[in-house]
Symmetry: C2
Subunit: 329 residues, 2 copies
DNA sequence: CTGAAAGCGCTTACAG
DNA sequence: CTGAAAGCGCTTACAG
């Protein structure tokens, strides 16, 4: 592949001049520029971003470490991040942690070696060693969706508490009194927030929340299925199950269907995170919707602010309850 | 951030020696190695992959340009690609073309400037100028899912013809005689293959295929919705609609539901590409399933073969028909 | 407006 | 077993 030297000799100028036309430096005579452009064209020259990065100390690349790309929420987030990043002239490398701390560490480490200009993380858990590395690396960092408490890092996330409260009220008004919830990993801020908002709202409604109605999950489908199985095996099963993410809701549906039960007649179902398919499930599923695109855009803007030396604020977006038929009507 | 020089001076060796321990070169005395390792630890040194890439002429990075990341098929493919790539020691940068040739060109060009070691493309359309660039760049290249005909590039894809034929037989046996299909972009090999297999099978069943039963789509949901609207507005609407990808099937469901019609009583629906949600839609959707993980793994293996100087074969995987209730029973 | 030269952080023959 | 030196392909003060 042709290098800047090849272009220079073909255009009969120095590499400095070629570099100048590459970077739109004004101090180049029009005819010189034309000669260089010509040589570039003829050679099919393509600047080497690796060499440029080494020299300029910037890669124009952002890293995004996400807990599970297969989760439609994160897919959409990744897409929004990529769109906004491109608008600012950055590429993004996505690392999929698959909810495994070791994979998360692998990706963070890999991204740091690649000298990305900034990092977006939705942490799987608060493994402190990686964080120390991160802090030490001085790489601009923004948390999105999930975060690690007590760290001086901007956080862009959705506050679902209000919507969860609305959901509980909705369930109460429908006459449901035995409400169960499938939690996410305890190490996860979003998981905790959703659970605690739910428990609080249930308490405020004067309902009790027996511990066996709180299922442990890990935000993946299989755990939603297992938790649902335990609920349904109870002598007095719950009337409604609230899954704190969409994959666990999918698992819950799998289990309910496998037992030949119907939603919402036999058991109601609601989920955190709305996705297009929830409109078309049998029945359509009541869900709490995040503004995922906006979340992604704001996250990138915060990170770009940091990279370019400006201060970056944390951003909190609201969620909204979308009532469909899966809890009764 | 500490550089190899800092490590060298702290360990009181030359940078060459540090480089040797970094690369597990055997010719380093154990105590020297220990001193270097120590210095690395103390400084929190992290090798600069940019500098290494410039020197070694390899980035250990693969590019994946996909027509639409939000399509669950491509999400799953991307995940499988990333997994297999990591197993071979490569990272992957994903470019989302969003079915737009100009975005596809942008990503290919960007990846080439970044000097990725190899490129995986599921081409949006056969825009020849980018292909010329690609061929000229000598970058190892493999097509996945879709491809450009008449090019000496390995192709890893699913042959859906057999499964499409089975689908048509299934529909015929159910008593359906008026079959409609929503096509993908004509510039797309998969789109063409699915359509032509469908038309052929319909002909073999002795059925006729009026042109108004062939809808034009672009593999995205909105086009599936529009095509379905046109079908349903026909004086004699089809009895079954076959969407040649899952997003267009989603759009078709949207339209059917919006008109208050039922599946399969009023109109049947089948889709190419199976996804977890099809089990839970109302009713569950009959679909043609690809072995997406295997597709991703094989693609990466083919590309790695090319990168490492071995020959790479094209791979054709079979698809299978998964019968559910959306076409009747 | 243009060029010569230094340097970004590595790796790797070559010499010892 | 170790080091000095060249070089990967760029950018950018500096000088003219």
């Amino acid at each position: 592949m042709a290098s800047i030297k090849d272009v220079a000799s073909r255009a009969e100028v120095s590499v400095a001049t070629v570099s100048r036309v590459l970077n739109d430096h004004p101090a180049v005579r029009p005819d010189t520029r034309a000669r260089v452009l010509n040589a570039i064209e003829e050679l099919g020259y393509r600047p080497n971003a690796v060499a440029r990065s080494l020299r300029t100390h910037q890669t124009r690349t952002l890293g995004l470490v996400v807990s599970d790309v297969m989760n439609p929420f994160f897919t959409e987030l990744a897409r929004a991040v990529e769109d906004e990043a491109r608008a600012h002239g950055y590429s993004v490398i996505i690392g999929n942690a698959d909810e495994q701390p070791s994979l998360q560490a692998h990706h963070i480490s890999n991204l740091l070696e690649r000298r990305i200009d900034g990092l977006l993380v939705s942490p799987t858990e608060d493994d402190s060693s990686i964080l120390t590395d991160l802090a030490a690396s001085k790489t601009p960092l923004v948390f999105v969706d999930r975060w690690i408490p007590h760290l001086d890092v901007p956080v862009v996330h959705t506050d679902g508490r209000q919507a969860v409260r609305q959901l509980v009220r909705h369930l109460y008004e429908l006459g449901h009194r035995r409400l169960a919830v499938i939690a996410g990993p305890e190490t996860t801020t979003t998981g905790n927030e959703r659970i605690s908002a739910f428990l609080e709202a249930v308490g405020d409604s004067g309902l009790s929340m027996p511990p066996e109605y709180v299922g442990k999950g890990d935000f993946q489908a299989a755990s939603g299925q297992a938790a649902t199985a335990r609920f349904l095996d109870l002598p007095k099963p719950p009337q409604v199950i609230f899954a704190t993410d969409n994959l666990m809701a999918l698992g819950a549906m799998d289990e309910i269907r496998a037992r030949g039960l119907r939603v919402p007649e036999d058991v109601g179902l609601a989920a955190f995170d709305d996705i297009p398919w929830f409109l078309h499930t049998d029945p359509p599923i009541t869900a709490i919707a995040q503004r995922t695109d906006e979340l992604g855009h704001r996250t990138v803007r915060a990170l770009v602010d940091l990279i370019e030396g400006r201060a970056a604020d944390s951003v909190t977006l609201p969620a909204s309850l979308v009532i469909r038929r899966s809890c009764g009507e």
